[in-house]
Assembly symmetry: C2
Homo-oligomer: 330 residues x 2
Amino acid sequence: MLPVCVIGLGLIGGSVLRAARAAGRDVWGYTESGQDAAVARADGFLVESDVDAALTLAAQRDALVVIAVPLPSLASVLRRIVVMAPNCPVTDVISVKGPVLDAVERLAPSLTFAGGHPMAGRSESGWAAGSAELFHGAAWVVTADEKTDLAAWRIAAELALDCGAHVVPTTAYEHDDAVARISHLPHVLAAVLAAVGADVGPLPLALAAGSFRDGTRVAGSRPELVRAMCEGNAPALLPALDDALGRLGAARGALASTGSLKATLDAGHRGRLALIGQQQSEWLAVTVDLTAPDVHDALQSVGAQGGRVVRLAENTALAEIPRSRVDNDL
Amino acid sequence: MLPVCVIGLGLIGGSVLRAARAAGRDVWGYTESGQDAAVARADGFLVESDVDAALTLAAQRDALVVIAVPLPSLASVLRRIVVMAPNCPVTDVISVKGPVLDAVERLAPSLTFAGGHPMAGRSESGWAAGSAELFHGAAWVVTADEKTDLAAWRIAAELALDCGAHVVPTTAYEHDDAVARISHLPHVLAAVLAAVGADVGPLPLALAAGSFRDGTRVAGSRPELVRAMCEGNAPALLPALDDALGRLGAARGALASTGSLKATLDAGHRGRLALIGQQQSEWLAVTVDLTAPDVHDALQSVGAQGGRVVRLAENTALAEIPRSRVDNDL
């Protein structure tokens, strides 16, 4: 098991550090927050006080470097890795993948790199909010684009599995489109709903019950964190917003002209059933040959089918594909 | 305490029957569902096997008649009340108020009527899903339009208080606008979100976490029930949809042109804080003189401020107005 050097010890980076140690790995990290560093050291972790020291140790020990800083800090971290630990395998846990891949190709094309994104979070942030269990049972995307180095993919996937997650292999583009639809669009719609409910005086809020509470919950998150997440994925979020605008406009038009919301509500109900069906589906085991020439396609296919890699052997990945029951129910 | 005759024994009507009996009232009902009637009788309730028999008993005993049928059945029930129990006070528990008021004015203008809408529900429906506790702590709108008979308003409000709810007085128009924003729009947005997430293949759903699950939860409700609720309030839902479309379009435009979602997300965050703030606010006690010439205005003002009536005395209503703390927090 490779040692792990985590650059950035917020909620996600701090949880990776804890989970990797719990899995038996040697770990250390770096954070620019003196306060987080002090607390992490008090929790028994080695936290270097400058990034070059952490990366020097990574180079000496052939560690996996995990970039866990916000997107705006990515470029400066990549530049330090190229100088201090150019031969270490590298992954990241940033919530968009296309812009990360672009930055790596531009600033550090020689790195052995595969991008990652664990689909887990909390409303709190910072080292104190993290835990070794944060990723248990969660999906953890590890991108497998055509150019992805398979050794880097495997190293990043092993970290995800060690952290208790399952690995969803897909491309950076497909990842960004998917999270725009199921993570970023929900935040925008929740904000719109909260404003429509609140901006005409107190009466609507006084009558609000479960549907409004659920529909606006994520509007309670800190707007600056939501902005960073959504705005960083603007190229994928714009088409998702257009999709939503088109469907909402069609609902409005149908209600005005025919009095019916049948098409809108039936499609939404099917979508919700598909979500439930996928989460409750049986899983078909499939084996991916990691030595095959079309391995990138095979991995991408697992993700495209809603599947996941649950174990890695020497030359194979054991994956599971959902056999959704929802098609039979509708 | 007036006896209570409930016409329609689904989730809401059946819960009113139970709650009114639990409050010590004589109660009986009617349902066209032979199965629900049999179960209700087995539960110890008097359930007449035709609507005229139930209304005859109401006329004999000067009971309050509660209309708890779906909107499409309202007209036929009103016609029977006019014939069989024309002097009984009447209220309803249908989820729109403007169309109900129109039907009463058209078909039964001589009735002593005030409309009602308890803001409580469950995803299950029918007699079996009801309970005497369904309305505990819930808001129960009783409309107080300029033409509303104050005696009818008081009788309907006393039923709501007996059922454990608090009474929100407002106009039919303001009620319908409010529920369009906080109950019907959430269903349409949940449907749109579920479809955007589900209609491009399994990957997005495989990555979906809390924000998508919360944002699509009500899309799991039975579409025909959601349709009846939303389509019956089309005149108020259309402007709410336009408000949402305008805000979503503005978000899209800002993201495309400036890369920023700040205005959208800040407004949504303020709305969510206003919801939390209103629900956690301190309450200022105010007394409404039910004999004053401007009593309708005074009652409407309670609702417009997000307030509620919590007790009725001989000539006064004790109300509470929220003193929101959220203004100080922002």
